[in-house]
Symmetry: C2
Subunit: 572 residues, 2 copies
Amino acid sequence: MYYGEKTEVLGKAVVHLTAVEISLDVDADRDGQVERNNPNKGSWMWGPNGHGAILLVNCDSEHTYGKRRDSERAEVSRVSDLKDMSPMVLRTSGPAKLPEGYKLTMHISQGDAESVRVFRTRSTAENLFYKSFVKDYPLVLGSEDLSKEVPYLGGNAEMNFYVEGLRFPDKDFEGLISISLSLLEPSSQGFPETPIFTDRVVFRVAPWIMTPNTLNPLEVFVCSTSDNYQFLKGMRRLVENSGYKLKVCHEYMNRGDRWMQDEIEFGYIDSPHQRFPVVLDSPRDGELQDFPYDVLLGPDFGYVTRTAYDEEVSSLDSFGNLEVSPPVIVNGKIYPLGRIIIGVAFPTATKGRNMTKVVQDFLWAQKVQEPIALFSDWLLVGHVDEFMTFVPAPDKKGFRLLLASPDAGYKLFRGLQNDGHGQAKMFDAEEEITVDEILSDDKLGAENNYVQSCIDWNRDVLKRELGLDDDDIIDLPILFHVMEENRAVAYYPDMVNMIVLGKNLGIPKPFGPKVDGRCALEAEMTSLMEGLGLSCTYIDDFASYHKLLGEVHCGSNVRREPFSFKWWNLEM
Amino acid sequence: MYYGEKTEVLGKAVVHLTAVEISLDVDADRDGQVERNNPNKGSWMWGPNGHGAILLVNCDSEHTYGKRRDSERAEVSRVSDLKDMSPMVLRTSGPAKLPEGYKLTMHISQGDAESVRVFRTRSTAENLFYKSFVKDYPLVLGSEDLSKEVPYLGGNAEMNFYVEGLRFPDKDFEGLISISLSLLEPSSQGFPETPIFTDRVVFRVAPWIMTPNTLNPLEVFVCSTSDNYQFLKGMRRLVENSGYKLKVCHEYMNRGDRWMQDEIEFGYIDSPHQRFPVVLDSPRDGELQDFPYDVLLGPDFGYVTRTAYDEEVSSLDSFGNLEVSPPVIVNGKIYPLGRIIIGVAFPTATKGRNMTKVVQDFLWAQKVQEPIALFSDWLLVGHVDEFMTFVPAPDKKGFRLLLASPDAGYKLFRGLQNDGHGQAKMFDAEEEITVDEILSDDKLGAENNYVQSCIDWNRDVLKRELGLDDDDIIDLPILFHVMEENRAVAYYPDMVNMIVLGKNLGIPKPFGPKVDGRCALEAEMTSLMEGLGLSCTYIDDFASYHKLLGEVHCGSNVRREPFSFKWWNLEM
């Protein structure tokens, strides 16, 4: 941009200023490099032909001790922290000095100031040494400084800036922020300067992204408690045999809270210059509540949470009730990052439990994995992972939806009876019950009819919202019984509540009726999964999880590889 | 939608229910008629090929006495109120009665309940008489009733519903709401019913739309005060000669507050079934504050306001600081409803006055007239109407932007001096000053240099954001002087602060230097406007407005015809 022409138009030219070229530059073409004066740098567009720079919320902590999220510090945490920020370059070309009274000012709006902070490299004129100290990166803009003069370096010069995101998109924040740089001209003495040229760049804050079961695992997390040795042993064997790392949260940290799935959800944030995992901490806040902040948060491991200030937190806020589908295409609309799935009260219910609005608002605001609300309040615990999961498949859409199905359960039990195995027993000695006894229990039958109709409702929603056909779905033989307030729990270990590690599944051992020494439920499950090339390991969680109304999935969590698909290439 | 197929799949068919056809219908094709089962009724898309029903905020008052906005009453205000609501029809076709235990339920989400209310016509079974009483339209859904059973009429039947919008789009509300209708199936005794079919419709709440100077006037509003007889006489002549209606707000109501422009902004809301004007009441709240609610609100005249709870209200919240451009095309992007223009502090200023965030958020959230922020805080009063306006033009873009221009003022004064009129006097006897005296006042010159640079900044923004060329802009000869805190006021009546009534302009009489008995400023102004076919009337507002730092535009307001362009046809 040339300045100079305009002063002549005004007829009061300051002739000594002939031409200054000024460009505030960002990585608007998203290739990881700050190009020169991209014509689209002042706006933001989705898609592979889109443009606009990207900002990360600096929600990790460069410090491991005395840690705080870096975004909570108004200075650069360490020099390594700069790589979590978006590079921005001020390129100037002109005389050695600006004429008397002219100056460069960088500025942001009041509204953006809560979402962004800008640092810069101290100029060589200020410090001739190699930039290796935090103090060499002074704060330029933040909530206390909406506008600040920046040095003009003279000649052909570049000054490096670092832009830090402070908050995720949410109901009241779309995620876009802009930064401006103005050349100010002195007015007559005693008057404020007025801007004669302004350059402006736009960033979008990267959304928090969840990872479905079809992505490769990196780490598996479980809790160790005084009573779960059997479970831990099974999990360790499964995880290590699958070639992944088992991370155990010990009792001094979990204080007996074994529900690793429920306290946290793993996700990540991504930009052309940097990417790292970010844990979403549930407002659930059981005894595990310190684990995500105290253990997970660290260098290149971010943390985000939402606090329910004036809402009641219920069991539906546990993240067993927050899942994500594999990539799907629905009526021609592509969801390359899948769709988030949560469970809520049924819409016609006059009252019911729900996921808190603060968490729902956060999830919807991320935009790139448009959420689906299922009906999970019919369950006593109320989590979607009690009746559904996804497993990878070599054919069709690349996955199958597995659904708990009382109908499939009764079909299997009736088959056993017809084949003369009515006296086959399930459970162990104290609680044993025969196939005949189960089939003759009319109350249990009525309860499972009701459960099936609740799951059918969700099946319809999932088919419609994920674009699934019936043969993308596998019904697993699982019975429920109904407890207080007409709410359901699994009758035997709920096999759908499994952990998916590539082609290896860790499934709650169902303790089903034994036929020729083999559990008929395991046999059916294994046969259904074998067809997809998946291998089943049955893990005994009966005493330490199932009896406490959870299973393998509730008691574990998996951090997975991010998508190779880049979220900014979505067509919105 | 046929129900029946599915029960067979489940293998526990309730055989007496063969087929019920159910469709919840709205005007999704926006032709004013509720069509049958539009395939797009469950989503909303902008544009002439778009779809999705439209809802009005029921912000008028059917009652003239003891009035409240209709949306503040949880019942239908009068039967005439139904025309402000969107029609919705439940069409059913099936047996005379639903089988035992089956029922229809209409429901909305908790989140939508603050934005929408649904009424219905009492069914003929309930009331055989003609529907002419409010009690014949019971409330179905609202903030207290998220879900309610609705009667199944049997055979081929239609039941009419009326949907009422309760709030405008805002920062935390995009404007979309959805309504669902479910057919519930009884479960085994003692269990809740479960839905077997759900139909869903989506509405968008109509935005509040402003009207630019290029639209035809309908009514002109002014205040009468103890000292503005001269001004009123001039305005009455102008308005009546132009063929419009002058409405005078008398002193018992205005209590001496004459700034009719500043308290309110006229706009309207529009849908395929109904349209009416809506006044936006400023948080300014001077002595005129009761006028919009007490006088304007009424049948088919809506009212909306925003309250600044934790922000300081400044002079920039007056609606002389809120204008709208005529339709423009900017780099190929069409704004068929123009763009809203507001004035704010200059972005590099470390502190300054601003328009309250609640009002800015409201304006941005309307979306269809994407706002532009100008720099107006350099003025003592701080309103954009002090330096700019739009007038209709027969050529080019159909309008011209008029800008106050100290440079044009000095050029005119220097021309007078060169032509030997340096001793020509302006103002009247007590305050008279010659052209020579003005030109020799260096302080005044410096002040006007500063003012020109402030206006030039805004000129650049307006050119860029409205896609204007230099020849779309006319510079008017107007001088300013600078008062406390470096803030400017007009030196003589500020001609750009005019009222535009079709081709007739009501302009503050400038009392400029007299040459051959004629005011040189009026002569210049008239000659500039004549070229556009516009006729100038100069109104003496010197004592009663100019001296109080306002002019003709500040002291008047115009309600205009709505756009013929429909907002839902915008491509977003």
